[in-house]
Subunit: 342 residues, 2 copies
């Protein structure tokens, strides 16, 4: 508060700016108009130091060039803005090491709490010490999407089991009997759970599950390459299993691979093969046929995560109970699924 040294002390100026009753109206007016004139803005760093609170939340996501994650960030931003919080974003690039490094970088006064989407490698390694440490040292943490039960933190998820069930049941309702699924390896929680839902739906319909119809595929970093690999894999699969009439994919990219493979084999979608997927993103709307999908409500997820985190940050209560928030999903009907005409 440098230049304010016209004739008043630092404390007087501070009080004047805060409309303190201790200061005469005359002085207040003088200081305030002067502040406006010189575009005075209090230094947030100094405030942070004084208040022991930065009013910023740190977000760690696996990647940002990914519609779902960017939607989550949007939700976080929206909720944060409303409570006058800033958002600092860091990407782990699906790497355990980056995740740890970024968390350490931020967790030294820069932020008041974390919202974290765990990286694939972290889940694979099954090592969550870095998260546990945050929790132990009283930095509030909210996990979203990819969560692990053993961590004592708030969690925001969609009900993946239920969604997997819902989307599979839709295919069954369409008269499909031989339904395959393209999912992820088990260490990706969401893939595993959606698979569970798929199995549940089959079970409820009295359709015996078939190991061969479960394809576990882990995409690489490059969209095109991943697409191509999976496409070839699926061409083989569909060629060897011509009776498949329904296919669940666990994300949009995989669904595109399915559409490509089907086109190669001149299999008509949705007539011969109905396809459903997850994530109501740009791809689902842009492909032909457009994709029947489960909307994951990324924005809503981000909002809820931010609200939960800010609650934790501002809560004075030392003992806190962790909660798990479930975001409802919606089945969005498009062109890639239809009733099977026999």
């Amino acid at each position: 508060m440098l230049a304010k040294e016209l004739d008043l002390s630092i404390s007087t100026v501070s009080k004047a700016l805060h409309d303190s009753h201790e200061i005469s109206q005359e002085t207040k007016d003088k200081v305030q108009s002067f502040a406006k004139l010189y575009h005075y803005k209090p230094n947030n760093i100094a405030l942070s130091l004084k208040n022991q609170s930065t009013k910023t939340i740190g977000v760690i996501i696996p990647e940002i060039v990914h519609e779902f994650f960017s939607k989550v960030i949007q939700g976080i931003e929206e909720a944060a803005l409303e409570k006058d919080y800033k958002v600092i974003v860091s990407m782990s690039n699906e790497s355990y090491e980056s995740e740890v490094h970024n968390i350490e970088l931020l967790n030294s006064g820069a932020i008041d709490g974390f919202i974290i989407g765990l990286s694939k490698e972290t889940l694979e390694k099954n090592n969550f010490e870095h998260i546990q440490e945050c929790i132990n040292y009283n930095t509030p943490v909210v996990l979203f999407d990819r969560v692990v039960d053993e961590l004592n933190a708030d969690k925001v998820i969609i009900n993946d089991v239920e969604s997997g069930r819902k989307v599979t049941k839709h295919l069954i309702d369409c008269g499909r009997k031989n339904i395959a699924i393209v999912t992820t390896p088990d260490y990706i929680t969401v893939g595993k759970k959606r698979l569970e839902g798929y199995l549940e739906a089959l079970n409820e319909a009295g359709i015996p599950p078939n190991e061969n119809n479960i394809i576990k595929f882990n995409g690489g970093k490059s969209f095109s390459k991943t697409l191509h690999q999976l496409e070839e894999l699926l061409v083989d699969f569909l060629k060897n299993n011509p009776d498949i009439d329904g296919l669940v994919t666990v994300n949009e990219a995989n669904a595109v691979a399915v559409l490509r493979a089907a086109r190669q084999l001149q299999i008509e979608v949705p007539k011969q093969l109905s396809v459903v997927t997850f994530s109501d993103g740009i791809i689902s709307k842009s492909t032909f046929p457009s994709l029947t999908t489960i909307s994951q409500q990324g924005v809503e997820m981000g909002k809820q995560a931010a609200i939960a985190l800010i609650d934790s940050i501002e809560s004075t209560c030392p003992i806190k109970k962790v909660k798990t928030i479930e975001i409802p999903t919606k089945l969005i009907l498009r062109e890639s699924s239809s009733f099977k005409s026999t």
Copy 2:
């Protein structure tokens, strides 16, 4: 540096942690091992206050759920991480007011400099006082993608005119004679410039431009709605102009609308109508036919912007010359364009 009070003073501990020569090896070892044991991390806020530098860069983008912008952020993150900078992201939602508000929020000690992609509304209003003020008060600013010449800041852009020319020339080389363009209103700089390039290419090829073949369309916030509106508009246009054999679109979403409209009218792409677009994103790869496009190198753009900004931040020289960095683009050939067989 609270708990360090075992027997030493604050200053001694600080020096010991920094391996000062003033401190005996014995003491240094003691302090350092103690620090490790207690997971001591210096408080970044205090450091920022002392050093008058936050090692954080503020990024203002119009929206985050947008592949190009998220790629730019990724590039910024990558370059920032390398120089130990943090990144704080803020979205303007294409709103002037949000842009101003977010800049003000951050520009009070929270960041050392800005990387800004201007909002549509700001460009429309043609009001850049808030940016000028940053520059005046010596907060370094780098503009990217959507820039304005009158601002005395570093700029990172792609050569939109040249790219527009390149992509149009490709259609001409494919033997297309009646080439239309779907672009934005003129206040969106990139759309305006790409249109210029389009006109240049036509001119070079001796093809007289046709006002009717220039469609200026401004999308709304909703992808689906925008898509639908433009699709209808294009159905009309293509029906009334059956001789159109080439079409340039200025972004991927518009290209999807073109593909849809063509399908409605049973116009074959690329045979009857070749389509080219901008942004080598997920959509270009996912549509059928996949889209010939100009790669905008978002990641590279972000990197260069971050490097330029950090240069400015760390430069001690009071007089700085602004520079404009041009990121080269590449034409990526896919299925939506082909030579016209007569």
